[in-house]
C-alpha cells in the first residue's frame, strides 16, 4: 500500500533563509509523487511532480524536490524563503488509477521577517 509521511507538522524560517520540508513515502512500485501548496482561503495548487523522468524536479515559485529512492524521500526545498511562501504544504503519492491521491498530514510553513 502507498503512504506518505511528512516529518514536520510546522516549520518556521526567517525570510531569505533556506526552506526544507521533509517527506518520506512508501510504495510497492515506482511512485508518482507531488507537492501541493494551500494558501489561506485558497484551493490547493500543484507545486511540482515527480514522474520518474528526472530525480530533481523543479516547480513553481523557486521550489524544487529531489526523489531519492534509496531513502524513500521526496523533500521539498527552496534556497531563499519569501513571506508569500507561508502556507500549508502537502506531499502526495498516487495510489492506483483514477488519480487516487494519498495526502500527507501537511506541513505548515511560517516565514518571519
Amino acid at each position: 500500500a502507498q503512504s506518505v509521511t511528512q516529518l514536520d507538522s510546522h516549520v518556521s524560517v526567517s525570510e531569505g533563509t533556506p526552506v526544507l520540508l521533509r517527506c518520506n513515502y512508501s510504495s510497492s512500485y515506482s511512485p508518482s509523487l507531488f507537492w501541493y501548496v494551500q494558501h489561506p482561503n485558497k484551493g490547493l495548487q500543484l507545486l511540482l511532480k515527480y514522474t520518474s523522468a528526472a530525480t530533481l524536479v523543479k516547480g513553481i515559485n523557486g521550489f524544487e524536490a529531489e526523489f531519492k529512492k534509496s531513502e524513500t524521500s521526496f523533500h521539498l526545498t527552496k534556497p531563499s524563503a519569501h513571506m508569500s511562501d507561508a502556507a500549508e504544504y502537502f506531499c502526495v503519492v498516487v495510489s492506483g488509477g483514477y488519480n487516487k491521491l494519498i495526502f500527507g498530514a501537511g506541513t505548515r510553513l511560517a516565514v518571519h521577517p
Partner: protein, 114 residues
C-alpha cells in the same frame, strides 16, 4: 485557467439535517473528487466520479453519497449530518485518469454541524 467552483464558502447546519455541497468545473474534465480536510490528517478521499452517473467510493464514504447527473457538476450529500462531519470539504477535478495528471481544486467549503 481551469475553475472549480464550490457553491458555499461556509455552511452551518444542525445535526440530522440533509446537506448538499455543490461543485462545478468549467473545463470539461472527466474526473471529479470530493475530499475532506482535517487538521493533522491531510486530505482524505470521500468519493470520486470518472464519468457522468458513475461513482466510486474513496477511503471514507460512510455517511456520504454523491450525485453526478451532468459532467460539470458533482454533488456531495450528507444524508443526516452529524457533528463528526464538521470539516473542510474540497472538490477537485482532473482531465484524465493518468497517474501523473494534476488535480484542480476548489477553494473549499467549511461545514460546521451543530
Amino acid at each position: 485557467d481551469v475553475k472549480v467552483t464550490q457553491s458555499s464558502r461556509y455552511l452551518v447546519k444542525r445535526t440530522g439535517e440533509k446537506v448538499f455541497l455543490e461543485c462545478v468545473q468549467d473545463m470539461d474534465h472527466e474526473n471529479m473528487f470530493w475530499y475532506r480536510q482535517d487538521p493533522g490528517l491531510g486530505l482524505r478521499l470521500i468519493y470520486f466520479s470518472y464519468d457522468v452517473k458513475m461513482k466510486e467510493k474513496g477511503d471514507i464514504p460512510e455517511g456520504y453519497s454523491v450525485s453526478r447527473e451532468k459532467k460539470e457538476r458533482f454533488s456531495l450529500i450528507l444524508e443526516s449530518a452529524s457533528t463528526n462531519q464538521t470539516s473542510m470539504y474540497l472538490c477537485a477535478s482532473s482531465a484524465d485518469t493518468g497517474r501523473n495528471e494534476k488535480l484542480f481544486f476548489g477553494s473549499g467549503t467549511q461545514l460546521s454541524v451543530l
